[in-house]
């Protein structure tokens, strides 16, 4: 690593400050160009015909009538995919366009390009696809057990990860068991999938798209199109939220195929219903847990079996299984661990990345168990957690020694120490009662409950993945002023990465004027905007490039550069991680852990089953808050998504078919559902990370859900072993 004798410059717009977002003005003026806003004079509109069946054999596809429709320029099937008709993040198991079999309702079968979205839609209606409907596999647990049709060669287990630590037969004085369920959650970003593919004169294609990882898209597109990498160029369009749901392909290959086939630019935009079919969801889970402890609450062992429903295609199921397994006991020091986690293929909608993946499902179960353990031992829920809290130096169930701060106890103490919201008294504002403004009673039957939870998440990519970011930083004098530019392929999805990168450059180089160029594939990969990793990895790469520029500057100040341009391209990676041992799950699989704790306070109308989350306070260690305002935004946003999973969000499937693909039927929290949060941000530096920082985005999503449910349990005395908790679960009917 480059060293420099100069110290980082302290500034009001650098590291540790919260300067204005560079995209702020454009966003509030309506001028920020999202991928759905793109336009080309000659463009056609693409549309996708999807399977109406969760599982069926295709007996024939007739496109003749669609092609005959005036205004239709292309109708493409699997036969028109020039390269490998298989893609996927971890396993290339998903057809670009279905061939002989469809494995989920909504699977793309045919794509068309037409002069108007309506023409495209009408063309789809004229495509005739013959199906022989097959019996779908819809239960992950029985799929793992080998029941039902084999959906992919090799069987229906995508991945099984066992974790074995200590004595597999450990016994304990106090034993608590439970079976828990987590429903299928949707990322529900506001800007549906969209992009514009423009054919190029060199036989290639330029794709403007909202995504989380340009290069992994590119890798999959070139394989499908059978083109060299330099012929498929991607540029990031404005991204209307992601939360994991844009890590897999949606329109990417289809739009490029249509553009190359027609020689015309092709725009594709999903509508909301199609979006529910067009991206992966959070894995629904069934989790069986057994915790053994001494009478004083000290954990002796944890045994667990976790079943994750991966749906029809693998997507990132493998990594999700790895997370759920390795983080399966939570942020606790447990001497004896036996965890088995399976990810299954079924004919349900494909599941993959969503904020906190794997860790979210496990946390609901292990935190529910910790509350049961507290009750069994007659302990306070915080006390039992503190008694078992991991810390720096703790050995994880994988054998990995935690080598940076792990302030689990402090986080718990902090949320406990926060003042409780005042008890409701006198004539309450109706809007503050469970049920909102329509709550016209005076709060009879309303019971308050308090619940706690703490969670753990691995930060960055794990298990031996070569996780790196490429950046280019240039410094020159423009108009008498030193100015820096940063070029990366890292995807700004709203989290504020571009602000953070500017801040790093300002602090490192002492220049005020920093421009972050559009993200594209003319530079090397920056990895995914996921796993809470971009500030760590791309931020780390920018820092490294700046340090090199500082070395090159020598004694000069940036303003003294004259005509010189200092230009550094850096490929930066974090410490390597290891694969897990396939039988014992041992290995230094993760580079960093993130922790957050929540205390939820709820008012529950026990007669009607209505819940009002009165407070959802949080403490999180972020190592170093590069941008404190953005950190708070991440914690608020992650906590809200956890609240949504706790009390309202679930994609309901019936025989593999989504029954609520709309924002009327799939509810996400409104401003009225989310309380203002009191947040403590700890900055305990991780000595191995740039600036000591710790990834921020995911940990608050993890502990939010179990904290809210614990509070509802405290108010109602109900077991509540499934999320989301519905009114009927509270009233017990």
């Amino acid at each position: 690593m480059t060293t420099s004798t100069k110290s980082t410059v302290t500034r009001t717009d650098g590291i540790g400050a919260s300067p204005r977002r560079p995209d702020g003005t454009a966003k509030v003026r309506g001028e920020f160009a999202y991928s759905s806003d793109l336009w080309h004079e000659d463009m056609l509109w693409g549309a996708t015909l999807r399977s109406p069946h969760p599982y069926a054999r295709i007996t024939g596809i007739d496109i003749a009538r669609a092609l005959a429709l005036p205004g239709v320029y292309a109708v493409l099937t699997h036969a028109d995919v020039p390269g490998v008709n298989r893609y996927g993040l971890e396993h290339a198991d998903q057809p670009v366009l279905a061939e002989d079999v469809v494995r989920y309702r909504g699977e793309p079968v045919v794509v068309v390009a037409a002069d108007h979205p309506e023409t495209a839609r009408r063309a789809l209606e004229r495509v005739e696809v013959g199906y022989e409907v097959l019996d779908p596999v819809t239960d992950a647990e029985s799929a793992v057990a080998g029941q039902g049709a084999e959906l992919h060669p090799g069987g229906n287990v995508v991945r099984h990860v066992p974790i074995r630590r200590g004595d597999p037969d450990a016994a304990a004085e106090v034993v608590v068991t439970g079976r828990y369920e987590v429903g299928m959650q949707d990322q529900a970003f506001l800007g549906p999938e969209s992009g514009l593919a423009v054919p190029a004169e060199d036989g290639g294609v330029d794709l403007y798209v909202a995504t989380q990882w340009l290069h992994v898209d590119q890798r999959q597109i070139v394989a499908a199109l059978d083109l060299p990498e330099d012929k498929v160029r991607l540029t990031l369009g404005g991204v209307g939220g992601a939360f994991g749901g844009r890590e897999d392909l949606s329109i990417q290959v289809h739009a490029c195929l249509l553009a190359l086939h027609t020689g015309r630019p092709v725009k594709m935009v999903y509508n909301r219903e199609e979006s529910f079919y067009g991206h992966v969801h959070r894995h629904p889970a069934v989790l069986y847990y057994e915790h053994g402890a001494d009478r004083d609450g000290t954990l002796r062992y944890v045994r667990a079996r976790i079943y994750l429903d991966g749906g029809a295609y693998a997507s990132s199921t493998g990594a999700v299984v790895g997370n759920a397994a390795t983080l399966g006991v939570g942020p606790y020091d447990v001497p004896n661990v036996s965890v088995d986690c399976w990810g299954a293929y079924t004919n349900n909608p494909p599941c993959g990345a969503m904020r906190g993946f794997g860790a979210v499902q496990a946390a609901f179960a292990y935190e529910s168990q910790m509350d049961r353990l507290a009750a069994a031992c007659g302990l306070d829920p915080v006390e039992v957690r503190i008694r078992n809290a991991m810390a720096q130096g703790t050995v994880m169930p994988t054998g990995q020694v935690v080598d940076s701060p792990a302030p689990v106890e402090e986080l718990l103490r902090r949320v406990r120490a926060k003042p409780l919201p005042p008890e409701p008294s006198g004539e309450p504002d109706l809007r503050t009662l469970p049920g909102g403004v329509s709550n016209t009673t005076h709060g009879e039957g309303v019971v308050r409950g308090v619940g706690y939870a703490v969670g753990i998440k691995n930060i960055c990519f794990s298990e031996g993945f070569d996780d790196y970011a490429t950046v280019r930083v240039r410094l020159q004098v423009v108009g008498g002023e030193p100015a820096a530019t940063v070029h990366t392929a890292a995807c700004e999805v709203g989290q504020g990465l571009v602000t953070v990168l500017q801040q790093i450059v300002r602090s490192e180089l002492g220049v005020e004027r920093v421009t972050v160029e559009p993200s594209d594939t003319t530079i090397g990969s920056a990895g995914s905007t996921s796993a809470s990793r971009q500030t760590y990895v791309t931020g780390g790469a920018v820092r490294e490039a700046c340090l090199r520029i500082r070395d090159a500057l020598g004694a000069l100040s940036p303003a003294e550069l004259g005509d010189k341009v200092l230009d550094e391209t850096v490929e930066w990676r974090h410490r390597p991680t290891e694969e897990l041992h396939p039988e014992t799950g041992q290995g230094n699989a993760h580079v960093q852990y993130g922790f957050a704790a929540h205390r939820a306070v709820v008012d529950v109308d026990t007669e009607l089953g209505l819940v009002k989350v009165v407070a959802l306070d949080c403490a999180q260690d972020v190592g170093k808050a590069i941008n404190p305002q953005a950190v708070l935004g991440q914690i608020q946003g992650g906590s809200a998504q956890g609240l949504g999973l706790a009390v309202m969000e679930e994609i309901k499937t019936e025989g593999g078919v989504i029954r609520n693909p709309s924002f009327t039927d799939y509810l996400i929290p409104t401003v009225l559902d989310m309380p203002p949060m009191s947040i403590d941000v700890l900055e305990l530096a991780d000595p191995h990370a740039p600036y000591g920082l710790r990834g921020v985005g995911e940990p608050p999503t993890i502990s939010s859900t179990p904290a809210v449910v614990a509070a509802i349990r405290a108010a109602t005395g109900r077991a509540l072993t499934r999320v989301p908790v519905r009114p009927e679960h509270i009233t017990g009917t």
Binding site: S438, T441, E444, G445, K652, E654, T733
Partner: protein
């Protein structure tokens, strides 16, 4: 959305004639439901007659103390009307519990009453639905039916009516004024409680209106007891969601007993459900929770919940009890 003809109506008579003369025509009010259904392919009218500029946009006093609400009065304006807020609070509360500010600025009184069910199968044209295509079968009965009916359903349909406004109007004994092709220059009056119908053999008919019948106004009777009225809506999130169960009620105490009472339920049936059995059980009885509960149970005795909406029965009971307790000043337990 399929193409259609569009006309803007200059007066009610022409509007009625235009729709009556074309079996594929429909009236267009605020559009919040119809335009949505046209996008989904649930509705495919070949002519829309825009009635939003007809002179039915005011709330006027009626001789004798009632109010006449023009069919074109928007939900937000009606909810904000001082006379409504003070004399019929149940109505204002019902309106404000529905949708969002932006939608209430579009939605009209008449259109709100005529909105169609939110049943997911009704809205999904790829599934069988007797309401959309009579004779196809009901997908909800054995499907995803958490939101569906517990009262008055038929083997052919278990959908519920989604309007909050209609529930309040039913409790208030409001009267819907209709001008149809057979009415000449006149109008006919239909009690709000009789506007919507139970599905029976014909779930495709939501109301008793015929093709070309245009709602022109809703009359609120002078109902002094309505000054003490409430609407409560139980739903999956605090705002901007349809009801699992809702209750509109008004109570008049005479001495120590209930002199008169009006109760209507939403989210439980194909129509706003006037709880006449509960009302009868309560008249002359003391206003306490045991009485409220017994009355609610009497009303719900014939409930026939589906596999996944059994919870609605106790939820409806508890909501009735809760609303009545609140209205009568019953102290918390």
């Amino acid at each position: 959305m399929i193409p259609f003809d569009y006309r803007r109506a200059g007066d009610a008579e022409t509007a009625v004639a235009a729709v009556a003369g074309n079996p594929g025509a429909a009236f267009l009010g605020g559009g919040t439901n119809l335009v949505d259904h046209m996008k989904l392919g649930v509705a495919e009218p070949d002519l829309l007659v825009d009635v939003t500029r007809l002179p039915f946009d005011s709330v006027d006093p009626l001789p004798g103390g009632g109010l006449r609400i023009g069919a074109g009065v928007r939900n937000s304006d009606l909810a904000a009307d001082e006379r409504v807020r003070t004399r019929y609070p149940v109505l204002a509360e019902a309106l404000l519990s529905g949708a969002s500010g932006q939608l209430r600025n579009l939605a009209t009184t008449g259109g709100n009453l005529l909105q169609r069910t939110r049943c997911g199968y009704f809205q999904d044209v790829t599934t069988p639905c007797n309401k959309r295509r009579p004779g196809e079968g009901c997908s909800a009965r054995e499907g995803y039916h958490r939101y569906h009916a517990i009262l008055g359903a038929s083997p052919h349909c278990v959908a519920v009516h989604p309007s909050d406004l209609a529930v309040a109007l039913t409790a208030l004994d409001a009267v819907v004024r209709v001008r149809g092709p057979r009415d000449g220059h006149g109008e006919r009056a239909i009690p709000a409680a009789e506007l919507h119908r139970l599905p029976g053999e014909h779930p495709e008919w939501d109301t008793v209106l015929g093709h070309g019948d245009l709602i022109t106004a809703v009359d609120l009777p002078p109902l002094p007891m309505a000054a003490r009225s409430r609407y409560r809506k139980v739903r999956d999130r605090a705002s901007y969601a349809f009801a699992l169960v809702s209750v509109a009620a008004a109570v008049e105490l005479t001495g120590d007993v209930i002199g008169d009472v009006r109760i209507a339920l939403g989210g439980v049936a194909h129509k706003p459900w006037r709880a006449t059995l509960a009302e009868a059980a309560l008249r002359g009885r003391p206003p306490d929770r045991a009485e409220f509960r017994a009355a609610a149970e009497a009303e719900l005795a014939d409930a026939q919940p589906l596999r996944d909406n059994r919870f609605k029965v106790p939820m409806a009971r508890n909501t009735i009890v809760s609303v009545l307790a609140g209205l009568t000043g019953e102290e918390p337990r």
